[in-house]
């Protein structure tokens, strides 16, 4: 798995499917909402799980596990395991809504202030009570200069976290409409346990302590985690007795599924789909991932500062061929996020219209036009450049090789070099030291529709203040549009318009050549049914979505 394909969802898409909710309605409902007694049914996961049979043990394969069993090291799919033990205040539901969890209610009195009311009577696995101080400590590990949290970039807007009676107050330095999703991805651990264990917290011999429906009982860094049912869970009884989660290489995964040792596999490798499809007792489902494969061109230095060179290259990339051939039926991309991101935020016709316009802006595959653009550039004879790829995502290499064929025809020679993950991340993301052209699979860390535009196009995310703006793209007008959007509430429809405006500017300036929106696949043994699979499965309490059949 790539490292940066974290995110995907998309609340709005799910909302559109699930019904006519709006987030404001939800927030209001939650704010006034549940009574929060111990008898409260807890997170209202709206799936069939409740009526299903108990499952003794489930062996699953996941794309990634952390090197430490701790919330500071949990991003993307790693959260799919850690959040089962260290649960969040609010729970992201398969239908895209947010449900009260450890917080029995919450409100946002102003753009920069959130207040969470803590559920009473909740205990950690060791019997100690959950207190607001635990929540403050669990939030504080991600905040501030000294933090070692891998999620720190989601917490940069937070100024102060404090406890007030049974409430937790979060004050932001600047409006961050997507902050509630940050809360949904942040697990709560025992502050006392953390203090006692010091810097060994989360290591194999220490593990971690939470309040969640499953307890951690064994951990091998990056390889496997064992969870067992928390019999004293405050909410609905956890349906699975034991969960063994492991990261397997592609061949082993296939053998594991064939031998029946793997019951469910999240994020199946697209390159091996055919092998999995042919297995008799294993059912596959897929949803569009909220991620994009894109080429990045560093626009503040030669040679890619030349817009004609960028347009020439864009014309030479055959998106349709890559999407259908290399990525097994993904959707070709003409902008940085899939149109489904806007479902529920704008009428479908408006989204279609906007995406048609975005498609017009993106140079279509046409080698003649590519040659014309190259002739107008400072490099009429073409250039030679190197693109780094990593073995953990074979698609990077396959896409680049395919694009390189088209580019070679017009005189842009691309050499593909495979490097290890650390080298790739350093060159592409952290230091921006590539030859100028790179490829990645990028998704945001949360369901908000401005997440990807913000990360990839805001000049704030160029080193040294950030690094996800891989193209070093800097436009005052774009920064201003993003700033305006951040001053609006998360459910304000004007934010969707602003997001589209930003994407339009990116289409004109072309710092990125989006290639395709991949799909994410889940495989489950036929004796089980999995309801509500979505691109943000790892933010859901997914064991509640699995039912044993027959």
């Amino acid at each position: 798995m790539t490292t940066f394909n974290e995110p995907r969802v998309n609340r709005r898409q799910a909302l559109a499917v699930g019904g006519a909710f709006t987030l404001s309605g939800l927030l209001a409902a939650c704010g006034g909402g549940s009574s929060g007694r111990a008898s409260d049914a807890g997170p209202a996961t709206a799936v069939a799980g409740g009526s299903g049979k108990q499952i003794d043990a489930l062996s699953i394969s996941v794309p990634q596990l952390g090197d430490l069993l701790h919330t500071t090291r949990a991003v993307g799919p790693i959260l799919g395991i850690t959040l089962l033990g260290m649960e969040p205040l609010v729970l992201y539901q398969p239908d895209g809504s947010l449900a009260p969890n450890l917080a029995e209610s919450w409100e946002q009195p102003s753009l920069t202030r959130y207040v969470f009311k803590l559920r009473s009577g909740v205990r950690f696995w060791d019997g100690s009570p959950l207190t607001p101080a635990d929540v403050v400590a669990s939030f504080d590990v991600h905040v501030g200069r000294g933090t070692e949290s891998a999620s720190a970039s989601y917490w940069t807007s937070v100024e102060r976290v404090s406890a007030r009676g049974d409430e937790i107050v979060v004050e932001l330095a600047a409006p961050d409409p997507a902050f509630i999703y940050t809360v949904a991805r942040t697990g709560i651990f025992s502050a006392a346990f953390a203090r006692r264990r010091g810097d060994k917290l989360g290591s194999p011999s220490v593990l971690n302590l939470g309040t969640g429906p499953y307890r951690f009982t064994a951990f091998t860094p990056l390889s496997r985690v064992r969870l067992e049912r928390n019999d004293r869970y405050w909410g609905r009884a956890p349906p699975i007795g034991r969960i063994d989660a492991q990261v397997l290489n592609q061949d082993t995964l296939l053998l594991g599924v064939q031998s029946g040792e793997v019951d469910a596999a999240f994020a199946l490798p697209v390159s091996q789909l055919k092998s999995f499809t042919s297995l008799p007792d294993f059912a596959l489902q897929n949803v569009p991932d909220a991620a994009v494969y894109k080429f990045n061109m560093v626009v503040d230095r030669a040679p890619w500062d030349d817009v004609h060179l960028r347009r020439a290259f864009a014309h030479a990339v055959d998106r349709d061929a890559i999407a259908s051939g290399v990525l097994n039926g993904a959707d070709p991309a003409t902008t940085l996020e899939p149109p489904t991101t806007f479902d529920g935020a704008l009428p479908k016709s408006a989204v279609d219209e906007a995406y048609a316009e975005l498609a017009q802006l993106m140079p279509a595959y046409d080698l003649d036009k590519a040659r014309q653009e190259l002739a107008q550039s400072r490099y009429p004879d073409g250039i030679e450049t190197e693109v780094l790829v990593m073995a953990s995502d074979p698609n990077l290499s396959a896409i680049t090789q395919t694009a390189a064929q088209g580019a070679a025809e017009i005189g842009i020679k691309i050499n593909v070099r495979e490097v290890d993950e650390n080298t790739y991340i350093n060159a592409v993301y952290l230091r921006h030291t590539t030859d100028g052209l790179s490829i990645d699979n990028f998704g945001a860390g949360g369901p908000d529709l401005l997440n990807v535009p913000e990360l990839t196009l805001n000049s704030h995310n160029i080193p040294p203040t950030g690094f996800t703006n891989v193209a070093n793209y800097e436009r005052a007008a774009v920064d201003e549009l993003l700033a305006r959007a951040s001053r609006l509430r998360v459910d304000d429809p004007r934010r969707a318009q602003l997001a589209l405006d930003v994407l339009r500017r990116a289409g004109e300036d072309l710092p990125y050549v989006p290639v395709a929106f991949p799909k994410v696949y889940l495989g489950v043994k036929q004796q089980y049914a999995y309801a509500g699979f979505n691109a943000f499965w790892w933010l859901n309490r997914w064991p509640d979505q699995i039912v044993a059949q027959g």
Partner: protein, 321 residues
């Protein structure tokens, strides 16, 4: 033979071993620092901010001069303190201990099987050289040795894991019985890969020795076949067999790495691969030193076995002394 000679020999070899380990540690240290990317990323994660990465570098002392960092490492390592993993916070010795619980039985049991099966079949086929048993055995062993270890592993997994459901296809297993069950196929893979080398050297040497005059003479004296093979033939073939054993056991460590990957085992090899990817300097240093020390020890043991097996080596050493 005088104990003095062996003591002096040992002292020389130990001094050399220390030197080798020092060189290995310097080279590994420099290579890690030459490689792009640093361990601060492993500690901070992919979404760490640049400020965080700088803080982590400073707190790990990664901005100190290289010589200073190396000295710090060396002075701790002398007391067998390799520090803690930057990524997992686990003491390096704990991580190595956990890995050894998988890798040690994997390598040692495979090695014992290779030695037993290889020498037995080698001796047997040497006696029947040219016969159908000889041709079949040598042919089969060659097939096993020529197939890449991961192919052998996949075939075994498909047959015994997927088709017959006799054995698990991945994972390490908990408890002795489960661990043993999980290690059967990996050990079989290594044994298949390594046996041919042992068989071949044993067969060649035993065949040569069988043709020598002293064996003919022993037979003429009416000594039993078992006595001749045990006391005369194998002992004479011993030096080459022991030499080959040394290279096989070292080879098992590197094959083991592949096999661990294929079978999803969390052994020393996986630990090293993950550490290299994360630029986890303390773990890389600890594991490479362990492997280097293992190889040095194997060579030392092989040399000592020469002394035991071959009087000429002892005489030669005494003459030099």
């Amino acid at each position: 033979m005088s104990g003095n000679v062996i003591a002096r020999f040992l002292a020389r070899r130990l001094a050399a071993a220390v030197l080798v380990l020092l060189v290995v540690s310097v080279v590994v240290f420099l290579l890690i620092h030459l490689a792009p990317g640093g361990p601060e990323q492993a500690a901070g994660g992919e979404f760490a901010t640049p400020q965080q990465l700088a803080n982590i570098r400073a707190s790990l002392g990664l901005d100190d001069p290289l010589a200073e960092q190396y000295w710090r490492f060396l002075s701790n390592a002398v007391g067998l303190d390799f520090g803690s993993s930057i990524a997992t916070r686990e003491p390096v010795l704990d991580a190595i201990g956990r890995g050894l619980q998988v890798t040690a039985p994997l390598v040692l049991v495979s090695f014992l099987l290779i030695c037993t099966i290889g020498t037995a079949l080698g001796t047997l086929t040497a006696h029947r050289a040219g016969g159908s048993l000889d041709r079949a055995t040598v042919g089969l062993a060659l097939v096993g040795a020529s197939a890449p270890a991961f192919v052998t592993a996949l075939i075994l997994l498909t047959v015994f894991g997927v088709q017959l459901h006799w054995l698990p296809v991945f994972g390490t297993g908990e408890g002795f019985a489960e661990r043993a069950r999980h290690l059967v196929l990996p050990i079989a893979t290594l044994t298949i890969a390594g046996t041919a080398a042992m068989l071949q050297i044993t067969r060649t040497r035993v065949k040569e020795v069988l043709a020598e005059d002293h064996v003919t003479f022993a037979r003429a004296r009416g000594l039993s076949s078992r006595y001749i093979v045990g006391r005369s033939v194998l002992r004479n073939a011993g030096i080459q067999i022991v030499t080959r054993s040394g290279t096989i056991v070292v080879g098992l460590v590197s094959w083991g790495l592949l096999v661990e990957t294929t079978f999803g085992l969390d052994g020393i090899g996986q630990l090293l691969v993950k550490a290299i990817n994360a630029r986890d300097i303390p773990v890389i240093q600890g594991v490479t030193l362990l492997i280097a020390a293992f190889i040095v020890t194997v060579n030392l043991v092989v040399d000592l076995l020469y002394f035991a097996l071959d009087p000429r080596v002892r005489v030669h050493a005494e003459a030099r002394a």
